[in-house]
Structures are given as C-alpha cells and as structure tokens.
C-alpha cells in the first residue's frame, strides 16, 4: 500500500476515524475555495440545474401518490434507530447467518484493512481483473486504486460509474456519479476511450447506452470475480441486497465464480420484513420510480447456482466513531437515496466535487466530517444555508440541519488556540448578554453610517469579513437611532 502513515491518527470522540492518505473522504481544498471554481463553470451549473430539477419533480410526483408516506418515513427512522442501538448484536447475527450459508465474513477496521482483504481475496483467485457493481463503500475506501496498485484491472459496470472511470474523473453524486456531464460530454469520453467504438457515435442516449452495453457485455461474460456493495444486509437470514436500475448488478452478482461484497456496518437491518419499509422508501426517493427495475438478494452460496465463493467484508472506517456521537449518529441512518442532494440549493450550484468527498451534498456535509473527524473536513458543516429542504425530503427523516449546526459547534470547540472569529463571537456574546454593553455595541455599529457620507448604502469596498457581503450586496446605512432607543424616547420605559 502507498498510504502514508499520519503522525497522529485522526479521532472523533476518542474513537479511530477513517485513516488519512487512503480513499476519497477528504478534498484538497476547503468547500468555499472549491465552490468558487465550480461556480464559474457555466456548463456545470446548467447540467446540474437541469438534472436536479428533473429528478426533484419525479420524486415529488411519486412520493405524493403514497398516502402513508409520513408513516413510512417514521417507520424507516424508527427501524434505523432501533438497529443502531444494538448494532453489535445484529452484526454478529449477520455473521453467523452468512457463515451458516457458506459465506465467509471479514471484519475491516478501516479503509486500509478492507483494501488489503479484498486485494488478497482477488489475488488468491488468480483472476487478472474484477467487474464492479456501483458501490459507495468501495468508492469511499479507494478500492479501485488499491486493486490497480496490485496489478489488477478494475471495470466499473454501472453506466454513470463507467463514464466517470473512462473519463478519469471523480463521482459527483451518490446516485448519478456523472450528473455533472451532459450527453455531448459523454459522447466525447466514449469516442475517445472505448476500444473499437463506432466512429459515427452520436449523443443520442440510446446509442450511448448501446455502446456502453457492448463494451461491458464482453467483460461480464469473462469475469471470474465481482466486487459489490450492499444496500441492506438482513441479519436474521444472512441475506445481502443490491437495488439497481440497469441490470449490470444482476450480471455481476450471478455470473462470476467469486463474489466479494463490501458493506458498511450501518447497512444491517434485523429482519427480512424490514425490507418492506426500505424498498418502498428508497426507489421513490432516489430515482423517483415506484419500484427499481432490479432487486437482487442472496445469502451465502447455492451449489450450482451463482458464485460458488462468497465473501462479506464488514467495514467500519469511522462508523463506530459516528455512532458514539448522540446527535450525529443519525447520519448512519442514511440509505444513500440522494434525495437531499437533488433538493439542495447549495449542491445544485456548487456541484458534488466541491465537497471533496464521495459523499457530497447535505448528507455528505454531515457524514464525511464525522467519518474523518471534524477537523479533517471542517468547512463542510458550514456548506449549507440551513434552509431545511434536505430534512423535508429525507426518507428516514434525518435532521440534517440540526446535525450541521452540532458539527459546527464540535469544530469551534475543538480549537486549541483562539481564532479571530472566536474572539469576535465571544465579545459579541458578552455584549448580547448584558443590555448596557449591548447598547454601547449598537451605538458603535451605528457609527458605521459615517462611512456612507449621507448616501443610503455603505461603500462597496469594506475590509474582511464584511467584504464577503459587500462584494455582491449593498448594505444599508445604519440608522441614527435603534428601534428600542426611538421607542423609549417616545414612550418612556
């Protein structure tokens, strides 16, 4: 492995978090810096605006036709909360059931361990390549890079994931990793990278899909090893579940001899019946469909049918640390539908890459900083106007705005040395706690009117941090007297 060993392992609430130097949970830039670049990309803004508003509309229509949607949401939330409260027991039950049905369970503390386990398992089969089902967990740990470093070829088989891989790009959305690309851009990537592609390829969606299908079909048929993630793992039956739209997952889960599934430990559900709730919530929230085209379930191995060797890698990578936070642990309830991304006004404009993590958008802004430790992703909890649209659509009712606010406080409280902002906020808090000081502070603010020299607005050029406001917005000249002063003069006390 090429991972550099950090001088001090990151922790959150004293528990180990996702290690540095491996995987895709941290960006190179802070959110405001990355967003500044993305916001200048007019094509990106257009692509995202079009795609998110389309999927928002689809979701709203299919959710509105379910009369008991709120009850379903409440059930989803309650099931997740109950599962997390006894996560250890459910995971051990899952291990027992998978083992009893001929599978092998591996426990991976973090990304490095998970990558080592999967690489070792693939190398042991002697296969030179693996086909992959779209999976957030393997994106999170950087499995493709690890397998490639071991000399293996890795083929993503989900259409959007394939576009990202062929374009040497990064995913920018949980459900639609290539949402930032339009058809013309996809045609260009395919024409450049798919061997033997029809030179007359156009940007017609059907032609593009057929080109990808032909490219992938060959790989499915010769694949000996597949790697997948899991949407759910049922403890009582040892059943793993993948839901998808394209059928590529079904190919990967049934054709190869060996199947390796990497599953985050929070994906366990206690009973088969629990799927009733989640399989209703997920497709409507995610793709805006009543039902997803393919739902694959399997337990262990079945002689003569499907893969004859099955490995389940249970991944922590910071999840236990998230679970330890009483407020933040709700982030583990996420079923990766991406409805919150599609309604988020910040995501729609800044795009997924600005978040620097494979988990973008509102859920990413609460999940990534907890998986890595808040200080490694300190700008993400602030990447929200707290408008609350995410909470409104979340199928398991995760109160994302409250967790964002909580993580902001965790960041502030983690500072060892005083910051300029901290000093200012402390001084302001003192003033706002003592009326006499507050009236003095208001009088000082009112003196700002002198800068206006009689004009109705303050000058456009003011020093930071006010410049952040005045670069694009006028500030009205402060009044001579506050309301309370005016009122007290008129009415006495």
């Amino acid at each position: 492995m090429t991972a550099t060993v950090p001088p001090k392992a990151p922790t959150f609430l004293g528990l180990p978090t996702a290690p540095r130097g491996v995987g895709h949970l941290r960006g190179d830039q802070s959110f405001p810096d990355a967003a500044r670049g993305a916001l200048r990309d007019g094509q990106l803004r257009a692509n995202l605006g079009h795609a998110t508003s389309t999927i928002r509309g689809k979701r709203a229509r299919v959710v509105a036709e379910v009369p008991d949607w709120e009850q379903l949401r409440a059930a989803g939330k309650a099931l997740k909360a109950a599962t997390m409260a006894r996560l250890d027991e459910h995971l051990e039950e899952l291990e027992r059931q998978v083992t009893a049905r001929g599978g092998v369970v591996h426990w991976a503390r973090d990304a490095n361990e998970a990558n080592e386990i999967v690489t070792r398992l693939v190398l042991a089969t002697g296969a030179p390549e693996v086909v992959k089902v779209k999976s957030m967990a393997t994106q999170e740990i950087g499995l493709n890079e690890a397998l490639e470093a071991a000399g293996l070829d890795v083929f993503e088989t989900d259409l959007a994931e394939l576009i990202v891989q062929l374009g040497e790009d990064k995913p920018s959305h949980i459900l639609v990793p290539a949402i930032h690309k339009n058809r013309a851009e996809i045609r260009e990537i395919f024409a450049r990278t798919i061997p033997g592609v029809d030179p007359g390829l156009t940007d017609d969606p059907r032609r593009l899909a057929m080109a990808a299908r032909q490219h992938l079909r060959e790989r499915f048929l010769r694949a000996r090893v597949a790697v997948s993630g899991a949407n759910f793992g049922v403890a009582e039956t040892g059943t793993l579940t993948v839901v998808e739209s394209e059928g590529n997952g079904r190919m990967c889960l049934t054709l190869p001899e060996t199947l390796i599934t990497v599953m985050g430990i929070e994906k366990v559900v206690p009973t088969w019946r629990d799927l009733e709730v989640f399989l209703q919530l997920l497709p409507r929230s995610s793709t805006g469909e009543r039902m997803n085209p393919y739902t694959s379930t399997w337990a262990g191995v079945t002689p003569g049918d499907g893969p004859q060797e099955f490995h389940l890698v249970l991944l922590d990578n910071g999840r236990t640390a998230v679970l330890a936070d009483e407020v933040g642990r709700e982030a583990l309830h996420c079923i990766r539908c991406s409805a919150c991304l599609n309604v988020c006004p910040v995501y729609e404009r800044a795009g997924g890459h600005s978040y620097g993590s494979v988990y973008p958008g509102p859920i990413g802004a609460i999940l990534s900083p907890q998986l890595t430790g808040v200080e490694d992703n300190a700008s993400l909890p602030y990447a929200s106007s707290l408008c609350g649209a995410c909470f409104e659509v979340c199928p398991v009712a995760i109160d994302i705005p409250s967790i964002l606010v909580h993580l902001r406080a965790e960041h502030v409280e983690a500072q060892q040395k005083p910051t300029a902002e901290g000093v200012a906020f402390k001084a302001l808090a003192r003033a706002m706690s003592h009326p006499r000081l507050w009236h003095l502070a208001q009088r000082a603010a009112g003196l700002g009117r002198l800068l206006s020299r009689g004009r109705p607005t303050l000058p456009n050029v003011l020093p930071p941090p006010v410049s952040g406001w005045t670069r694009s917005r006028d500030l009205p000249t402060p009044p001579r007297k506050t309301f309370v002063e005016q009122w007290t003069e008129e009415h006495g006390r």
């Binding site: 006004p345 606010v405 960041h411 006028d474 009122w487």
Partner: protein, 257 residues
C-alpha cells in the same frame, strides 16, 4: 392584549422601521405594545455558527428581558424558530435545566407576526392599504421550521390596493443563511442571483417576506443591480394605511400594473 415586542437584534440595530411598523400595526388593532428595553438577541447567529456555549448568556438575557410577558411577537420567522427549537437545547446542553425550562415556557408564548395575527388574534384583514404590485418570498425557516403556510398570503390578499403576484421557485432558499452569506459568499451569491432573477421576472415593485435578514440579502443584491424592485418587510405593508404609509414612500404605484 398586552403584547411584548421582540424587535430582534438585526431589526433593532439596522432596520428599526420594521419593528416600528410591527408596533404601529398591533396598536392599530387595539393592543397594548410594550418594548422591553433589555432585549438583545435570540442567540441564533451564535448557535448556527458553532458558538452554542457562548449563546447561553444570550438566551439567559432574552429570558430575563421578556420574563412575565403575556405574549411575545417578533417580525422574524427565523428568530422565532430559534426560540422554539434551539434556545432550550442550548441551555440544557450547558447543564442549565432551569434556564431550559424558562426558555421553553417563554417559547410557548412567542409568535411570529403572521402566526400571531392569524392564529392568536384571528384576523386576516388588518385594514391595510398598499397600492403596489408585490411578490412574496416564503423564507425557509418560516416555511419549514414554523410552517406558517399560507398565513402571509391570507394577510396580503386582504390588503386593499395590493396586487399579489406569484414568485416562481418561491420555496428555493435565497442564499442568506446567516454567516453562510459571508463564509460561503460565492455560493450564497449564486443562490441570490437565481432568486433575484425570479423576483424580477414578476415585475413586482416590491418583494416582501417575514424575515428582515433574508430581505437585507435580497434587497442588497437588488440595490447593487440598480433594479427598480425593493424589499419591504411584511410588517411594513400591513402597517400601511391610506392615512399613514410606511416607510416613506408614495402611495401611488410607481409602475402601472
């Protein structure tokens, strides 16, 4: 009824005309208005920026300033939402159960203006006159945290002379978000750009809302564009009558509808 007016720190300091309009409106409806002199802030800006420990003193001051009030009204959905959903949590987390209970008790008697008018006073026609073309932006915290619903629309529809035009994409955030507007100024401005485009597409003379903070942001952007559309708080519209128009403005529409 004796109503204690919580101006909010922002309105008190930079937009006093909004609190004055709220007071005049409530007086016109026959209620006694008191303005506790020791009021400052609800603490929301501190809490939402990560300074929840520092906010405890602010919450304590707020609870002291309004202790004993029969009903408290504020011309801000966001501040009232913070009083309802954050103050007690902040106190409780700091281990001050007594303050938490006092804050909860006070929150039960604290109302956003449109909720107070429609739900408590039971009025939708407040006798206002405002001969302008107006569009309404439902601010996020009024919409999603307080769920004021169509109350502001009911109030606006009853205003004589007012032509209410629908705002496209009304429920999208304007991009203010408190310190977000400065910490993520570029993204905030991108959101504002789209909000302004929608506001301007209505050809309204005035964009109104129940939060002075969001209006400061939208209005600041419109002013920078030298756009003809201004922002006016809902309270100012409801306080306007044939006899007394607030703020200082012509009663005749500047643009024929």
């Amino acid at each position: 009824m004796k109503v204690a007016l919580f101006a909010t720190c922002l309105v008190d300091t930079v937009q006093p005309q909004v609190a004055m309009a709220t007071a005049r409106l409530l007086q016109r409806l026959g209620h006694e208005v008191v303005v506790p002199r020791d009021q400052a802030c609800c603490g929301q800006m501190h809490v939402n920026t990560g300074y929840r420990r520092e906010a405890v003193g602010i919450v304590a001051n707020h609870v002291r300033a309004f202790a004993g009030a029969e009903a408290i009204v504020a011309p801000s959905g966001s501040c009232v939402a913070s009083i309802h959903h954050q103050q007690a949590d902040v106190a409780r987390r700091a281990g001050d159960e007594e303050l938490a209970r006092a804050a909860e008790e006070l929150a039960g008697r604290t109302y956003e203006l449109s909720q107070f008018l429609v739900d408590v006073l039971g009025v939708t026609d407040v006798g206002a006159y405002y001969p302008h073309r107006v569009t309404y932006h439902p601010t996020c915290h009024s919409l999603r945290l307080l769920e004021v619903g169509d109350r502001p629309y009911q109030l606006l529809r009853a205003v004589r002379g007012l032509e209410l035009v629908e705002l496209p994409g009304a429920e999208q955030c304007c991009g203010f978000g408190g310190t977000f507007a400065v910490k993520n100024a570029d993204t905030s401005t991108a959101m504002l750009t789209d909000k302004m485009a929608n506001v301007l597409s209505t050809h309204a003379e005035v964009c109104t809302a129940g939060d002075a903070s969001c209006l400061l942001h939208i209005g600041g952007g419109l002013s920078r564009l030298r756009a003809g559309t201004r922002t006016v708080h809902l309270a100012e519209i409801l306080a306007s009558t044939e006899e007394a128009v607030t703020p200082d403005q012509q009663t005749a529409p500047s643009v024929p509808a």
